[in-house]
């Protein structure tokens, strides 16, 4: 009998995502398209975002409108606790739906739209029960702003956190500037929003953005601990209040402006400077800062800089879409272990291909291995396993024997005709 067997972990992998009451075919009790709501046996309500028609969650107007309706139900039912997480394998929420931000010209319209979003997240923030965001994969921009409106943030160890708005000529616009600068050291909060850098869970934990970092297998335990308030909550310390005080802001803001001006002059990049202004002027009052965030965001969004950067973002995405054709190859053979060949080989091995690196001489291959080791040390940081496995996949090939089993052959010998002909 012919049988096809699938590796056990591939069969089980999809089950890894802990979806609480939805695990054994549990159905949503809500009428919504993007959100699923169901209580587990401990009386904890799970609200899953599973945005229709896409593999990645983004925050759009209808997602927020539905969330508002779901919160009405939760306010009435008063469950023991609320869990918010994504049902997508790809991650939590990758940010706001940028499509909705394209081509808008009227700042008052944007303000009205954004204010409605603020209303929904404020409502989530005010819920009189423990709220827990369980975060795997991407948690960026608006996704992080929603997570910040919860009492607890539990990170799975593959999560990444960031506010990349500045790269689109914007700053966070759903209360993120307020909530982050009041949750953690505002200087670090500003740094995060000014640079747009993403953080790994361990760094997010150190800063106080998340309360716990764990694995899928302990999500239920972490949620229970949050629900009965035994999970140690990160609380902003005295320092946060102190640094948000008027004299501290007066002292710190000019330095931030100077540093920012060096890298992103206000004339070309208004967003980071608007962000600093926002904090410098309103950092002392959450309500005032939130109000100012809305109008500042609207101003930036209609600006030429932001609209151009958003356009570039879409062009880039389209290009990525063009390049996203699948290739089933696993084996790459690179001829020539010079700077170019060696680095191509190292890059391919890092991305999971088994690479034979051929050269007539051993020394260049040795040099390529050395450069690969250094490269992996930089990009892999503490990921010892990936570094080891990548170096394992990078096979020195002095006799060119890897060519027969290769799915793709890359020629990278010096530009000399005789040499090329020889190859």
């Amino acid at each position: 009998m012919e049988e096809t067997r699938i590796p056990a972990l591939d069969v089980l992998g999809r089950r890894n995502l802990e979806l609480g009451p939805f695990v054994d075919g549990g159905q949503s009790v809500g009428p919504w398209v993007h959100w699923k709501l169901r209580a587990d046996q401990d009386g904890i309500v799970w609200l899953l975002l599973d945005k229709k028609g896409t593999s990645t969650n983004t925050l759009s107007e209808d997602v927020l409108t539905e969330l508002d309706a779901a919160l009405t139900t939760i306010e009435q039912d008063r469950p023991r606790a609320l869990v918010i997480r994504s049902a997508k394998q790809s991650g939590f929420i990758a940010g706001a739906d940028i499509n909705e931000l394209r081509g808008v010209t009227d700042p008052t319209k944007i303000e009205a739209l954004i204010a409605r979003g603020h209303g929904v997240l404020d409502r989530l923030d005010r819920l009189p029960l423990p709220t827990v965001a369980v975060i795997h994969g991407y948690c960026l921009g608006g996704g992080l702003e929603m997570a910040l409106a919860c009492d607890h943030r539990i990170a799975i160890d593959d999560a990444s956190f960031g506010f990349p708005e500045v790269l689109l000529g914007l700053h966070p616009g759903l209360g993120g500037t307020v909530r982050l600068s009041r949750l953690i050291n505002p200087v670090q909060a500003m740094t995060m929003m000014l640079t747009g850098k993403t953080l790994r869970p361990s760094a997010a934990k150190t800063l106080g953005i998340v309360d716990a970092v764990t694995q899928e297998r302990h999500v239920i335990g972490a949620i229970k601990a949050a629900a009965d308030r035994s999970l140690k909550l990160h609380r902003p310390g005295m320092l946060v209040g102190l640094l948000n005080s008027s004299p501290a802001r007066a002292l710190l803001a000019p330095r931030m402006r100077r540093e920012t001006e060096k890298r992103a002059p206000r004339r070309f990049y208004p967003a980071p400077h608007a962000l600093i202004d926002l904090w410098a002027e309103h950092g002392g009052s959450a309500a005032a800062m939130q109000k100012a965030e809305i109008s500042s965001f609207a101003r930036l969004l209609v600006s030429e800089t932001a609209q151009n950067l958003v356009r570039v973002f879409f062009l880039r995405n389209n290009l990525k879409g063009l390049a996203s054709g699948t290739w089933d190859g696993k084996r790459i053979h690179v001829i020539g272990a010079g700077a170019m060949g060696g680095d191509i080989a190292a890059w391919c091995a890092w991305h999971g291909f088994t690479v034979s690196l051929a050269d007539m001489k051993a020394e260049p291959i040795g040099g390529a291995i050395k450069r690969a080791t250094e490269l992996y040390g930089k990009i892999g940081r503490d990921n010892r396993r990936r570094i080891r496995d990548s170096l394992d996949r990078l096979i020195p090939d002095l006799r060119g024997e890897g060519v027969t089993s290769a799915d793709l052959i890359i020629e990278a010998v010096p530009e000399a005709l005789s040499l090329k002909q020889k190859v």
Binding site: E3, R5, I6, A8, E18, V23, G221, R384, R385
Partner: protein, 396 residues
């Protein structure tokens, strides 16, 4: 030594009548790099007795039987002594009381899983700190220790802490009953220390364990929310076990009384992070080859590395999707009744001397089938590193 001597003593042939000695051992100590040969010489099997040691982690004790079985089946050998032994502690410590006390003070009673395992025969039970084992029990490919792989299996098959604790308490109860009723007498030899102390039973058993008392233990591997504890895991112990394999010719020649026949054996491998599911693959392969279904097997010994891992295997065989896609069956294999599985307890109470366990579960399966009047059984174990081994046995 202490289990090999009585075994050889009761044979109608001389110790040098064997063709080969094979011993499973995971952590070979520097003093005895080939413990099989050392054991052969010290057992008086003669200078011309060839002997080698095999290592496949937790499957080593079964690998020795399987290797002997295949040699005999090929017709190149007639009589093989196959065993498994594990002793991670250094021999001098065993006899050095001040050192033992120093260890005891240093690690405290709760963290020392020093056990005597009196199996088919016994060797000195050495005190050893868990900490020294951590690296050996961590998979180098996935960086997960064995306890963490059990956590993952528990998660993927929704095994609760309560279920694991209940399984562990029942296992302890079964072992206590077996000890009390003398059901282990045919395979456990008392051990005599040089100072005259006699160890006549395995003292890892905790008959007073209940699911409630086990629920109080903290997770051993992944705090604070893990489910795998010292109470619902196998105990790290020292121990040894030997069995004799003979060809039909040797049985006739020496007028032996065989206890069982090996019908089949199989080894399988899978992702190291779910190594606890190893038994599913090798056992299912044997069932397919022999045209059996799960229910045709009358008795199972599935090594209790972790309660959650045993329960994960049982759940997987009842899981339609998993059986179809991962095991290549047409539907779920079904349920194994609990009275047909690890009927006299297992490694949770007796301990898991990694090199010896595979040998011990084969031997115990045979003895348990004799006691219960059953004929067909499978002994199987999960193997650190992502493997599994299984052996189909028929009682004679």
């Amino acid at each position: 030594m202490q289990c090999g001597r009585p075994l050889l003593l009761r044979q109608p042939f001389a110790p040098d009548a064997f063709d080969q000695v094979i011993l499973g051992c995971v952590n070979v100590i520097a003093d005895e790099m080939n413990p099989a040969r050392v054991a052969a010489l010290r057992l008086g099997m003669g200078e011309s007795m060839t002997a080698f040691t095999v290592q496949i982690n937790c499957g080593s004790g079964m690998q020795s039987i399987d290797t002997a079985y295949r040699y005999i089946r090929e017709g190149v050998m007639d009589l093989v002594l196959a065993g498994g032994a594990e002793s991670l502690s250094h021999a001098p410590l065993v006899f050095n009381h001040s050192a033992v006390e120093w260890y005891a003070r240093m690690f405290g009673a709760r963290n020392i899983w020093a056990r005597l395992v009196a199996l088919l025969g016994v060797r000195p039970s050495f005190f050893k700190p868990v900490i020294g084992l951590e690296r050996g029990l961590t998979d180098p490919i996935t960086d997960l220790n064995m306890g963490q792989t059990a956590e993952l299996v528990a998660h993927l098959f929704h095994i609760s802490r309560r279920q694991a604790d209940e399984y562990a308490a029942e296992s302890q109860r079964r072992l206590a009953t077996a000890q009390r009723e003398g059901w282990l007498a045919a395979e456990v030899e008392p051990l005599f220390a040089r100072d005259g102390t006699v160890f006549d039973h395995d003292d890892g058993v905790r008959p007073d364990s209940t699911a409630d008392s086990l629920a109080k233990l903290k997770p051993a591997f992944e705090r604070p929310w893990g489910k795998v504890t010292a109470g619902n895991s196998s105990q790290i112990t020292d121990g040894a076990s030997w069995v004799i394999l003979a060809s039909e010719g040797a049985v006739k020649k020496h007028k032996l009384q065989p206890k069982a026949v090996i019908r089949d054996s199989e080894w399988s491998a899978l992702d190291p992070s779910i190594m606890g599911l190893g038994p599913l693959f090798c056992s299912t392969e044997i069932l397919k080859r022999q045209k059996y279904v799960l229910g045709d097997i009358e008795l199972w010994e599935l090594n209790e590395a972790f309660a959650a891992q045993v329960l994960g295997c049982l759940a997987a065989w009842e899981d339609d999707e998993f059986c179809r896609k991962a095991l290549g069956l047409s539907s779920a294999a079904g349920a194994i009744p609990r009275d047909r599985l690890n009927t006299d307890g297992g490694a949770i109470g007796i301990g898991h001397p990694v090199g010896a366990s595979g040998n011990r579960i084969v031997l115990h399966l045979i003895n348990a089938m004799h006691r219960l009047g059953l004929k067909r059984g499978i002994a199987t174990e999960c193997i650190g590193g992502g493997q599994g081994g299984a052996m189909l046995i028929e009682a004679v």
